[in-house]
């Protein structure tokens, strides 16, 4: 009994810890995307915050100054992103990818020059780390975001600009200015998420330390239908799966039971898609060209046949031996869920209408 309570407590706190960077970045993404600007750059924004915070904290010995500078760096990078996408109407996904690549290189470049290292900052002493404040901040920001979005004039304008910029413009809202604000806020929040990674969860900045968290945050935002509370729940779910992978490491399971669980999940996902196809009232009379159908069919068949052959081929005793759960199976859960949700299950996930479209004021 006691063991279970300990396990649950550990899982709970690990989940909170792992949710924090996702949540901060996802809330950041929310401000940007609700204003109509796609934010694939979250990953890069997080990295800019993580690096700047760690570097400044190292030099000043004060994590608060570090965090402030990190927020400044995130906002600055977001501002550059905003200039390109809002003012010069550059493709948002492409520019976002550019920001991500830039932030893969720039921290390494700077730390190479500043610390003569191969892409990481020196260790930051424990006294100068910030293990709790960002967690607190992340969850407070959910309430703040909810309030700002639904109860303030700014929130109303933000949503209006993301749904129907010309109408907002006609009503006297400065579309560009609101979008700038949305993107810059997203940079600031994502930077705090990154800062938590470098001086909260660990004690230094390492190359590419976000490891795709910006993209998971983006997935959580879509999963949460671009709303603050649902986004928090999605982040908690994704944080929980990550916590689970850590907790399950080293625990042994009998192979056939494990296989059964995986099989049930795979069948469930396939069934969901079949049901989803059935839900479509619009019957499509477009047929795919024969070679595509044949290629896809043959590939799927060969894959299935090969997997079956291997499953049968290993022999009976194999299935009664023990193994640990491969972490990869749990890692892919958020990604598969996102695809499933995006395909229109669990209620339609509708993006802000003007998402991704630059706004050209009529002259």
């Amino acid at each position: 009994m006691n063991e279970i309570i300990t396990l649950i407590t550990i899982l709970f706190f690990t989940t909170l810890r792992l949710t924090t960077p996702l949540l901060l970045a996802a809330l950041g993404g929310l401000y940007s995307e609700r204003s109509g600007v796609i934010n694939i750059a979250l990953e890069g924004l997080m990295l800019s915050g993580a690096f700047t915070t760690a570097a400044v904290t190292y030099y000043t010995g004060n994590p608060w100054i570090g965090l402030l500078c990190g927020i400044g760096a995130g906002s600055l990078v977001a501002w550059i992103y905003a200039i390109f996408t809002i003012k010069f109407k550059a493709d948002q996904v492409v520019s976002g990818t550019a920001i991500n690549i830039l932030m893969l290189g720039l921290p390494g470049f700077l730390s190479g020059a500043l610390f003569l290292s191969s892409g990481s900052t020196p260790q930051i002493p424990e006294d100068n780390q910030m293990p709790y404040f960002p967690i607190f901040m992340a969850f407070v920001m959910v309430a703040v975001t909810w309030y700002v979005l639904y109860r303030t004039p700014f929130g109303l304008r933000l949503r209006a600009v993301g749904e129907n910029p010309s109408a907002a413009d006609a009503a006297g809202v400065n579309v560009q200015k609101i979008r700038y604000a949305g993107v810059i806020i997203s940079g600031a929040l994502a930077a705090i998420g990154g800062a938590y990674l470098s001086i909260g969860q660990s004690s230094l900045f390492t190359r590419g330390m976000t490891a795709g968290r910006g993209f998971i945050a983006l997935a959580a935002l879509i999963f949460g239908k671009w709303r603050p509370v649902q986004t928090m729940l999605a982040c908690l779910l994704f944080g929980f799966t990550e916590a689970l992978t850590i907790q399950l490491q080293g625990i042994q399971f009998i192979r056939w039971k494990l296989f059964l669980v995986v099989l049930i999940i795979v069948i469930a996902v396939i069934a969901l898609f079949v049901i989803r196809v059935g839900m479509d009232k619009k019957t499509s009379n477009e047929k795919l060209p024969l070679w595509v159908t044949v290629t896809l069919g043959v590939t799927t068949f060969l894959l299935a046949a090969y997997v079956t052959k291997r499953i049968i081929g290993v022999g009976k005793e194999y299935w009664f031996t023990q193994t640990e759960i491969p972490v990869q199976f749990i890692q892919i859960i958020p990604y598969v869920l996102t695809i499933v949700v995006l395909a229109g299950f669990i209620g339609a996930s509708r993006a802000p209408k003007a998402l991704g479209q630059p706004y050209q004021k009529e002259r």
Binding site: I38, I40, I83, F84, F88, K89, A90, D91, V93, V94, S95, T97, A98, I99, N100, I101, L102, L104, G105, L106, P107, G108, F109, L110, G112, A113, L116, S118, G119, G212, F215, L218, A219, I222, R276, V277, D280, S284, E286, K287, L288, P289, V292, T295, L296, T299, T300, P326, Q328, F329, Q331, I332, Y335, V336, T338, I339, L342, A343, G344, A351
Partner: protein
């Protein structure tokens, strides 16, 4: 005149990227001219430099073409990374499982399997978009992660040689290897991993050009990309084109598997690709989504990749990260070319449009 306009902005973007990169190098206290000098001189020295440059160019041609084909259909494929991983693994898998086939069969079959693997992984977001209308950008990002995880699992638990500290499969059968070009070019040492895939890449450029501009299928894809509604009125089924374009895009990205596994490493190595799929976006963008442009753009980025190593080694403070920075700046400046239009029209060089 039209051609001039097409290449003017990419050139301006490259110059601007190098200017800003140079300023960054100045800030950290090194000489940008020496750094860029190393970059250029090492990339063009014969035969080793140019051999490696072309070696780095090859996968970028494939991913650049992949992104360009999808883009011509109005789709942004940021999943080339996942598609090339699936293809590479598929190629390694056939090279391991059918090791006894003679070379004349196994090598072409392996190439074909790589292409099919990429096409399969690319078709998934295509089908999802065509069937459910879900956005291909998010789906391809998710499929990248899923591919890496599943292939990591397969490598770690099923195909790794026991005790191997590196996450990689066992060596594939020598019968699956595609030849290195060093054997055929006088003066080119054989240790340079430039291989048959480079020839394939050049052929792929020709193929994509003919397919997109000289065939009915290509016309339908381009029509869908320009205006799906109008295409539908014209009797083209846009949803079909989406799947075809994504499958083709995936197939092209998958050919990186031929280059990496069958021609270079002879194993599937976990996360071998250094963002080749993402650089493909830059290549396609800089090359204006045209095969010839892609070829030149890929060569440009190949020069950068090759030059990264000597920059790292021979300058005091500049690390190879400068190459990532230059890449990112080029993408930004090409995507935001409106900036230069405004600038040029203010300077009076160009009429405002």
């Amino acid at each position: 005149m039209k051609l001039l306009r097409e290449i003017l902005f990419p050139l301006v973007a490259v110059v601007a990227a190098f200017l800003i990169g140079g300023i960054l190098i100045l800030i950290v206290g090194d000489n940008p001219l020496t750094a860029f000098g190393w970059l250029i001189s090492s990339a063009f020295s014969y035969p080793v430099g140019i051999g490696y440059t072309l070696f780095y160019t090859t996968p970028l041609i494939f991913t650049g073409l992949a992104v360009a084909v999808a883009f011509r259909c109005g789709l942004l494929n940021i999943g080339a990374e996942g598609q090339l991983y699936v293809a590479a693994f598929a190629a390694a898998w056939i090279g391991l499982s059918a090791a006894n086939l003679p070379m004349i069969l196994l090598a072409p079959i392996s190439c074909l399997i790589a292409i099919l693997g990429g096409a399969f992984w690319g078709a998934i977001p295509g089908v999802l978009k065509a069937r459910f209308g879900s956005h291909e950008v998010i789906n391809t990002i998710m499929l990248n992660f899923i591919a890496v995880a599943i292939l990591g699992y397969l490598t770690q638990y099923h195909y790794r040689t026991a005790g191997d500290p590196i996450m990689q499969t066992a060596q594939i059968s020598p019968n699956a290897h595609v030849p290195r070009l060093g054997q055929f070019i006088p003066g080119m040492p054989e240790f340079i991993p430039l291989n048959f895939a480079f020839i394939l890449a050049l052929l792929a450029c020709v193929f994509v050009y003919v397919f997109l501009w000289k065939t009915k299928f290509g016309y339908e894809i381009r029509a869908t990309g320009l205006n799906p509604t109008a295409a539908e009125y014209g009797g083209i089924a846009p949803r079909k084109q989406i799947v075809v374009a994504m499958a083709l895009s995936g197939a092209l990205a998958g050919m990186v598997g031929i280059h990496e596994v069958l021609g270079y490493r002879y194993v599937y190595q976990d996360s071998f690709s250094a963002n080749v799929g993402f650089t493909g976006i830059a290549v396609a963008l800089l090359g204006r989504n045209h095969p010839l442009g892609v070829l030149f753009a890929a060569f440009f980025f190949g020069v950068l990749e090759r030059g990264a190593i000597p920059i790292d080694a021979f300058t005091e403070k500049v690390s190879k990260d400068i190459v990532d920075i230059l890449k990112a700046l080029v993408i930004l400046f090409v995507a935001g070319e409106a900036m230069f239009r405004v600038l040029f029209s203010k300077l009076g060089v160009m009429k405002e449009q």
